[in-house]
Subunit: 353 residues, 2 copies
């Protein structure tokens, strides 16, 4: 292969996403999808929009989605950006703000960040974790360079309070502080509105998790006009129409059905809290996650074995093989019914059956 | 803005797409969309798939679409790649094969190519046109570097025969020759199957034009496994899930309804041929395009004026202001009815009314 590759492409170390087996084969607790369907109103909107207008290009600025996000979050439209999933929004941000510069992020975090650095030639440091698997928030404050961290962090589920977001943004003037809020709706308060106060703060969200729309690829960013204009510059140098017509309308409909979304997140949070008790009962060590997943390890049974036996029983969780998470699994919070099947099986594994 | 921008982002000169006004306001002949709706079977497929499964991530490899494309084009699945519109596929190709290297393309061509070069730091030369607005195919043959050209070329509509594709691919071993077949279905023969013969040949297609699916953003690439693996490396360093679930199924359904597609393209080609006669009658100079658009200029009436007056009458065409196309408009071929309205109006403009 390498004879045709650019040196850029040769140097890449691509991200490896969780397994995506054929639909319906597994109880799928490995890629942090919602166990519940998207709002019926979202499904209805898509069916209604699937007409002859699909012959036309989508609105390049995703106006209908931006408008809905503005109304929902109380952030002006010119301070919002939409992309093809938050992964694309993140990629644009790394190109716009970190290419050829330096950025820091936690050692244990979303493993796509160093990959973006490779694609856009950004230097990076990974801040060691504090107190076992905690983010070094103090180290990010005043570091004098770009900062990226998920809030809550992935795959630990640790939430940093808004006072930390403010402190880190305020102490790094002139550098973009990117807060990746992929999981914020499962227990935290969004810092989207703080973008009106800190012009160097960029807040990225996704509809894949809390809006149950992973299949539609919808990401958003909130930030000062300066930052949003930077994202637009990169978008318009990559793909003028990143978001198809149906995703734009689906995203808007999802934001408009707030009652459904709140009910769904509430159920997931309640199931998570119950799951903590089950994990405790089975002797797992775990972090009390503020997200829709739980990072866990067992002092007696290796994570690799747990992962394998679960998979053999048609239950998929994510297994991490790389230091310092080498003995951990990450369990997406499913429905109460799915979690009962999981814990019944875990009980057998831990019991040696 | 520039205080936060990376030097990469500062140096970009973003692409400017054609105007996308609100739906239904104009007779829209400016961005080469199909005037006909996508196949009813495609619309039906989307409605059927708009269900609870949208909570799940799409297949990262777009399997259902790749399988349909393989059956349709007679190219093995491992030699096909799918992306979020052909613009994204092109961007990945520039990153994978041209970053830090040199590539040539015609002076008059799709104006996104130099933008990709800026984003991924590729050097480029624009080959001067020959015999007015023709591609210098001879100059591309044996140039000893990467080559990109659309076939037919945009915005001229000039078609290069397969013998030229073969000659250019064969004479540039070790360098990737990218043929952008966005408009191939309106009069040319695809070189997709030639990718089995030339491992340096990459053929890119879109469903936006001849499949009337601009709103769904579906692009494909055909090439040797070496080249397809290169595209995958970049994709997996940018966005693991570039194509949403509905676009994957819509694209497959479009390829399966071949009768509808052939009928639609046939109508557009017949309307184009009739339009040549009308343009002649009105004294326009134009290229006998093999595409779904016609590049034209008038010896007496400036293109800028034609564009403005048409727009004032709710007809959008694309106006080019930049040398050497400064006095040209590009007219997308619409329905017979739309073209009658256009030519009636053009007659008045040319006649000085």
């Amino acid at each position: 292969m390498t004879e045709y590759l650019s040196s850029l492409a040769k140097g890449l170390e691509p991200y490896v996403p969780g397994e995506q087996p054929g639909d319906g084969d597994y109880i799928k607790l490995n890629t942090n999808e919602s166990p519940y369907p998207p709002s019926p109103k979202v499904q209805e909107t898509i069916r209604k929009m699937a007409d002859g207008s699909l012959r036309l290009y989508p609105d390049p600025s995703s106006g209908v989605l931006i408008k809905a996000a503005s109304a929902y979050h109380g952030v002006p439209e010119e301070m919002i950006f939409a992309g093809n999933g938050s992964d694309e929004v993140l990629a644009f941000a790394f190109a716009a703000f970190y290419a050829g510069k330096k950025v820091v992020f936690p050692k244990v975090t979303y493993s796509f960040y160093p990959v973006y650095c490779g694609l856009f030639n950004a230097g990076y440091s990974q801040l060691p974790m504090v107190e076992k698997l905690g983010m070094d928030l103090d180290g990010m404050a005043g570091c004098g360079c770009g900062v990226v961290f998920p809030n809550p962090n992935a795959p630990t589920g640790e939430l940093a309070g808004l006072e930390w977001v403010e402190r880190i943004a305020a102490s790094n003037p002139g550098n973009v502080v990117l807060v990746d809020e992929a999981y914020i709706d499962f227990g935290g308060e969004s810092s989207a509105r703080l973008t009106g106060k800190y012009e160097n703060l960029l807040v990225v969200q996704t509809m894949s998790k809390s809006r149950a729309l992973a299949g539609m690829r919808i990401g958003l960013a909130f930030g000062s006009e300066k930052l949003i204009d930077g994202l637009k510059r990169v978008r318009d140098s990559f793909n003028s129409y990143p978001l198809n017509r149906l995703s734009q309308y689906a995203g808007a409909a999802a934001l408009e059905d707030d009652a459904y979304y709140k009910d769904m997140c509430g159920k997931i949070i309640r199931t998570r809290e119950k799951s903590f008790g089950e994990l405790e009962r089975l002797g797992f060590e775990f972090i009390r996650s503020s997200s829709n997943f739980i990072l866990a390890s067992h002092p007696e049974v290796p994570a690799a074995k747990i992962y394998q036996v679960l998979k053999g029983n048609n239950i998929l969780v994510r297994y991490f093989a790389k230091e310092p998470l080498q003995n951990h699994i990450r369990i997406t919070v499913g429905t109460d019914g799915q979690m009962k099947i999981l814990f019944d099986r875990l009980e057998k594994i831990i019991g040696g059956c």
